[in-house]
């Protein structure tokens, strides 16, 4: 059974239909890359899956449970999903350690010592142990984004949603974040990531989905979607990307 299933998703902002009958299936341990032009609805899709946006139609199932049912408690669902944002969104008034332990302590009611031990272990694994007591504004962008990923992981999520997590980074800092995602894949984490890094999508994704006009126009293994796309709109998009020197 698939870990995440989206069927017939529709989302509109006023007159603007952003998602239009969108279908997406993500198997456990799979990494799915969402690609598409700016404004094609990649972020909106991720936000809908995390129940941060209200759907206008369609069904989302996580682990066989329909989470788009209005009777479902969204806070309970979000505990099982980790989300990382383009702009890191760390809490500036909390130290790195407090950022990471906030959810384990307040949401999962773990004891402070236990939550901190787990957080330090996670930070250590990504080489940020020395930054535990620093405030986010003392960290580089790459370090902040890695803390944001650790913060999401501390909830031990079933699924990670990564929204263009490297777009705000200087080129030389992109690598450290990508290598962290690579490690997550090795650990078997299920991930959906919106990205403009075609090279990375090709390397890490099991499935690439091209979004256009509110739908998944083309989906498949990266070699196929990025190498021999069958849909004219995919080809057009990739041609523009190549012209911009990003592939």
């Amino acid at each position: 059974m698939a870990l995440l299933t989206c069927r017939g998703l529709r989302k509109e902002f006023g007159d603007h239909v952003v998602l239009d009958h969108l279908d997406l299936t993500v198997e456990e341990h799979q990494v799915v890359a969402l690609i598409g032009a700016s404004g094609s609805g990649k972020s909106t899709l991720l936000r809908c899956v995390n129940l941060l946006e209200e759907l206008d139609d369609g069904v989302i199932e996580l682990d066989g449970e329909e989470i788009s049912d209005p009777r479902v408690d969204p806070d309970r669902v979000r505990r099982r999903i980790g989300m990382v944002f383009q702009s890191y969104n760390l809490f500036p008034h909390l130290t790195v350690l407090e950022n990471v332990t906030l959810a384990p302590r307040r949401v999962h009611r773990r004891a402070r010592a236990e939550a901190e031990a787990q957080a330090r272990e996670l930070l250590d694994r990504v080489g940020l142990a020395g930054k535990a007591t620093a405030y986010p504004d003392r960290l580089s962008g790459g370090q902040q984004q890695r803390v944001a990923i650790v913060r999401a992981l501390a909830n031990q999520p079933r699924l990670m949603l990564l929204d263009e997590v490297t777009s705000a980074l200087d080129p030389e800092l992109v690598g450290e974040v990508l290598s962290m995602i690579r490690d997550l894949k090795t650990d078997g984490m299920t991930m959906v990531l919106a990205t403009h890094e075609m090279g990375f999508a090709r390397e890490v994704a099991d499935q690439v989905c091209f979004l256009d006009g509110g739908r998944v126009v083309e989906a498949g293994p990266p070699e196929q979607v990025l190498g021999e796309p069958t849909q004219p709109r995919t080809r057009q998009f990739l041609r523009r990307i190549i012209e911009a020197g990003r592939l």
Binding site: D75, R78, F85, S87, N89, V107, D137
Partner: protein
């Protein structure tokens, strides 16, 4: 390690020397201009034709000494009222601001009440609230009516609570929605998000205007004396009526300024600190 110590180049040494000389010069210039202006002011005031009469009726040391105990007793009332009313108004303002952020139809009446409260009490002059509460309410002759002092304090809390609620609300609304999204995506409930993510940042951001309102409150607590209790200004007024000399007012004014200095200093310090933090320093 002394081998590795950086030795300033001749250019840097010249620059440092120049800066030092500039520094000495600006201190001298500041001292001279202050002295000149001060002398001018003193000459202008003491040279005025009515100076001797003014000095007698406003700056009489003997009268100041006599009035001091009564004025100090009054000032103690100001201090106690200030502490209680500031705490009460901050708490009330925070609660009202939080109520106004509640979403959902079930909370409509609460939201409406909270909004109505801030509109009313920000519009209403403090003196009127004070008179209604300290003169009107006791007229009801209810059982267990609190003393006039408490009612007067309540008037202050209600009025300042309205201002402070708006300051808190501005702070809450200044927190970027992405912070809420991040907190909610971690599974925090709305209340936990407010408590652990939004409010701590909002309060830090609006601490300077909040403290500024507390400084203003310090001057307004004296108005309770309109209803009977004797604060520092009222004590000075009584002493003035007895001696036909205004020195007690000057005394009370000086004490008020002394009282305000620490508060204002804290406000400035907090403002400076939050300005530094915001500039990413």
């Amino acid at each position: 390690m002394s081998l590795l110590r950086h030795v300033p180049s001749p250019a840097q040494q010249r620059r440092a020397e120049h800066r030092r000389r500039q520094g000495v010069r600006s201190v001298l210039v500041a001292a001279c201009s202050t002295a000149a202006l001060g002398t001018l002011l003193v000459l202008a005031v003491t040279g005025a034709p009515g100076w001797d009469r003014v000095r007698e009726s406003f700056l009489d040391p003997a009268i100041a000494r006599d009035a001091l105990p009564a004025v100090l007793t009054g000032l103690w009332l100001n201090v106690r009222l200030l502490v209680c009313c500031a705490a009460g108004a901050l708490l009330l303002g925070l609660v009202i601001a939080l109520l106004r952020t509640l979403r959902g139809p079930a909370f409509f009446p609460i939201r409406a009440l909270a909004a109505g409260y801030t509109y009313t009490f920000r519009g209403l002059p403090l003196i009127i609230v004070l008179y209604v509460l300290t003169l009107g309410v006791p007229g009801l002759r209810l059982q267990g009516m609190p003393p006039v002092l408490v009612l007067g304090g309540l008037a202050l809390v209600l009025t300042y609570g309205g201002y402070l609620a708006e300051v808190f609300r501005a702070g809450i609304e200044s927190i970027h929605p992405s912070q809420l999204a991040a907190a909610r995506s971690l599974g925090l409930t709305y209340r936990q998000t407010m408590r652990h993510v939004v409010l701590p940042q909002a309060v830090r951001r609006v601490a300077p205007p909040l403290l500024n309102d507390v400084v203003a409150l310090q001057k307004d607590v004296g108005l309770v004396s309109l209803a009977g209790p004797i604060d520092a200004v009222r004590a000075a007024q009584i002493a003035t009526a007895e001696t036909f000399n205004y020195t007690p007012y000057i005394l009370a004014g000086a004490l008020f300024v002394l009282l305000a200095i620490p508060l204002i200093a804290v406000t400035d310090w907090v403002t400076l600190r939050s300005a530094r933090r915001q500039s990413g320093g």
